[in-house]
């Protein structure tokens, strides 16, 4: 009997090829959309809040922790201000801290952030456990005593810069061709893709930021303009932030107490994931709206299944009567229609993976261009198997009404061909 149902379903799908294709397309869109919404939600959430960032905390000027994290970790926001170089030195010599790396921001190259830092970023920092930055063949990291730059893979691809090229940073975080700095930097290396926000950054020695034309240092509380050939005293130096990795998580809580709750000068963003999670919580309604839209599309696709099959039932009454006359039970006819609806939903869900791949591919390009975070199309999310199963069940339910209509077909009156 199952083989009979299978044959009936196959033939019906083929006989009503046009409506089947249109319905398949609707279901594919619906399931692809649902899978994409949930997958993108989780991947972005994990990337911004729970993913490995390499740093545990960020120390910056007194102000918003979120702004600090967005500016230094994701290179998205403006800097809340600077802190004295002495704070960096104090943290660097603190035994509780495994790694302290200074960041000086405020310039860009063709729209990509220019970050002044030390060579510790390349020599000691692991952006993922066991993974340090590497340069493409033929390149090297910058020499801190020279005007050299190392450029992230995405920034290099977009700007077309290659090792040996000379670039001039532009003042400010937004690209404005009128605010070009006179200082020239030779690109000595292109970072291998790390799938982190650093792929969108141009790194130069931090001394370069200090000495960039027009930059005024206020580390001592007084304005100080560096002079060529004259060493800058540490008291004048200042940084946008200090990226921190602790030996023990307890250090984060201790520093949070002394810096955030008792101090008034700086802000410690710790833990970075929690800071970003707060942002996602505040923006959670957007996710709910997207989910609602996806569910509505599923409802529309289910209605399309119902309508497409229901509309064929009248013309198929004789077919059902013949099947019954051959010995098919009412339950068999009912099962055949429900199976047909489920088959459309299941096939549509399979096509939904194509829609999912297209949506995630497009979203991945956009998210990477904006944040440097890479979404993985092949990342396994429960939605990838729950959605096809759920869609098939919903499709089968949509088939119940037309199935009942077929179930109720009177055999004797429908055996004669309609004139």
């Amino acid at each position: 009997m199952i083989s009979g149902i299978f044959l009936i379903v196959r033939r019906s799908l083929r006989q009503h090829a046009l409506s089947t294709c249109v319905t398949l397309f609707a279901v594919a869109l619906a399931s692809g959309l649902v899978m994409s919404v949930f997958s993108i939600q989780r991947q972005t959430n994990e990337a911004f809040t729970g993913g490995e960032l390499g740093f545990d905390a960020v120390l910056g000027a007194r102000g918003s922790q979120l702004q600090l994290v967005l500016n230094t970790v994701f290179h998205l926001e403006t800097s809340p201000g600077n802190i004295p170089w002495g704070m960096y030195q104090a943290l660097k010599s603190d035994r509780r801290i495994a790694l302290a790396i200074p960041y000086a921001t405020g310039d860009n190259y063709m729209g990509f952030r220019v970050v002044g830092t030390t060579s510790d970023l390349f020599e000691q920092f692991e952006y993922r456990t066991g993974k340090k930055f590497e340069v493409e063949n033929g390149g090297r990291f910058f020499d801190s005593s020279r005007r050299e730059a190392v450029i992230g893979s995405f920034a290099a691809a977009r700007t077309g810069v290659k090792p040996g090229d000379v670039i001039n940073p532009y003042h400010g975080l937004a690209y404005n061709e009128d605010s070009k700095h006179a200082e020239e930097y030779t690109v000595v290396g292109i970072l291998k893709p790390s799938n982190t926000p650093s792929d969108r950054v141009v790194f130069i020695p931090i001394e370069g930021i200090f000495r960039m034309g027009g930059h005024v240092l206020r580390g001592s509380g007084q304005n100080y303009l560096p002079e060529a050939g004259v060493a800058i005293a540490d008291e004048h130096k200042e940084v946008s932030a200090v990226m921190l990795k602790f030996k023990n998580p307890k250090t984060g809580f201790d520093l949070d107490m002394t810096i955030n709750k008792q101090g008034k000068v700086a802000t410690l963003a710790y833990p970075i994931g929690r800071v970003m999670a707060d942002l996602f919580d505040k923006l959670g309604w957007i996710s709910r709206v997207l989910e609602l839209v996806a569910y509505l599309v599923v409802a529309v696709a289910s209605a399309a299944i119902l309508a497409s099959i229901y509309n064929t039932i009248n013309e198929r009454r004789r077919e059902f009567a013949i099947l019954r006359a051959l010995g098919a039970r009412r339950a068999t006819v009912f099962s055949a229609i429900v199976s047909e609806a489920a088959a459309i939903a299941a096939l549509g869900s399979m096509l939904g993976f194509v829609v999912y791949a297209v949506i995630l591919g497009a979203a991945s390009v956009i998210v990477r261009a904006q944040t440097g975070v890479v979404l993985d199309v092949w990342s396994l999310h429960p939605a990838l198997y729950i959605t096809p199963i759920g869609m098939t069940v919903v499709g089968a339910l949509a088939g119940v009404l037309p199935a009942y209509k077929a179930y109720a077909t009177d055999v004797a009156t429908n055996l004669t061909p309609a004139s």
């Binding site: 009997m1 083989s3 009979g4 044959l7 009936i8 033939r11 019906s12 083929r14 006989q15 004789r318 077919e319 013949i322 099947l323 019954r324 006359a325 051959l326 010995g327 098919a328 039970r329 009412r330 339950a331 068999t332 055999v411 004797a412 055996l415 004669t416 061909p417």
Partner: protein, 228 residues
């Protein structure tokens, strides 16, 4: 043992003017194994209704129908479906082939609701009725005579004990009608199946040894009994 036994079978319908008109009133009708009977009946004589009652497609108002000793009235609808699938072959006047299916699939589908699909036997049956090269043709791609042969093969696919044929040659010309009838009779003989054929065609009736007039067994015919 009788393959078919009908006792006091009555069936009526409510006419558009609200009166209940009896169509079938058969006190007794019996067929034995491998027997071939032709029933003579004109249009409106209730012959299709009689066959549909025997096939379990229609429910009688009263009386009993037994197929190989199995009383249909004692069975559920699903039980009657099972008897129809396993013990009865039905050749319709309009063939009633499923248009989206090939000749082979039409035969196989009949098997699937009965004793199970047997592609080897289905192909052998189609070959037996002369459609070896047309198995994968759809009904629209077949001539009327070929469609009729598919219907015959389908009716015999489940090794039925009883084959019902309702004006099986009604859509065929004289030459093809004779050949089709002989095919049905031969295949029924080969399978030891009883054949109950109803027709109003004299040429067809003349080919049977055992011919009964429906009016002789159906008391409801001419004039119809109008119930109070």
């Amino acid at each position: 043992m009788a393959v078919l036994e009908v006792v006091d079978l009555k069936k009526g319908f409510v006419s558009p003017d609200g009166e209940r008109t009896r169509i079938v009133d058969v006190p007794r009708f019996v067929m034995n194994e491998a027997e071939q009977i032709a029933l003579q009946g004109s249009s409106g004589s209730g012959k299709t209704t009689f066959l549909n009652l025997i096939a379990g497609i229609l429910q009688p108002d009263s009386g009993s129908i037994s197929i190989s000793g199995q009383e249909l009235a004692s069975l559920s609808e699903a039980g009657r479906d099972r008897i129809r699938a396993q013990s009865i072959g039905y050749v319709f006047q309009t063939f009633n082939l499923l248009q989206g299916y090939t000749a082979l699939e039409n035969v196989l589908l009949g098997m699937m609701f009965g004793r199970g699909a047997d592609p080897v036997y289905a192909k052998a049956l189609l070959e037996r009725v002369g459609l070896k090269d047309r198995m994968n043709y759809r009904p629209r791609q077949l001539s009327v005579g070929q469609q009729q042969r598919v219907a015959v093969a389908r009716a015999l696919a489940n090794h039925p004990k009883l084959v019902l044929a309702d004006e099986p040659t009604g859509n065929l010309d004289y030459q093809h009608a004779g050949a089709a009838l002989e095919l049905i009779r031969e295949v029924c003989r080969e399978q030891n199946a009883a054949l109950l054929l109803v027709t109003h065609d004299r040429d067809i009736l003349n080919r049977f040894d055992h011919v009964q007039n429906l009016a002789d067994i159906n008391k409801a015919i001419a004039p119809p009994v109008v119930e109070p």
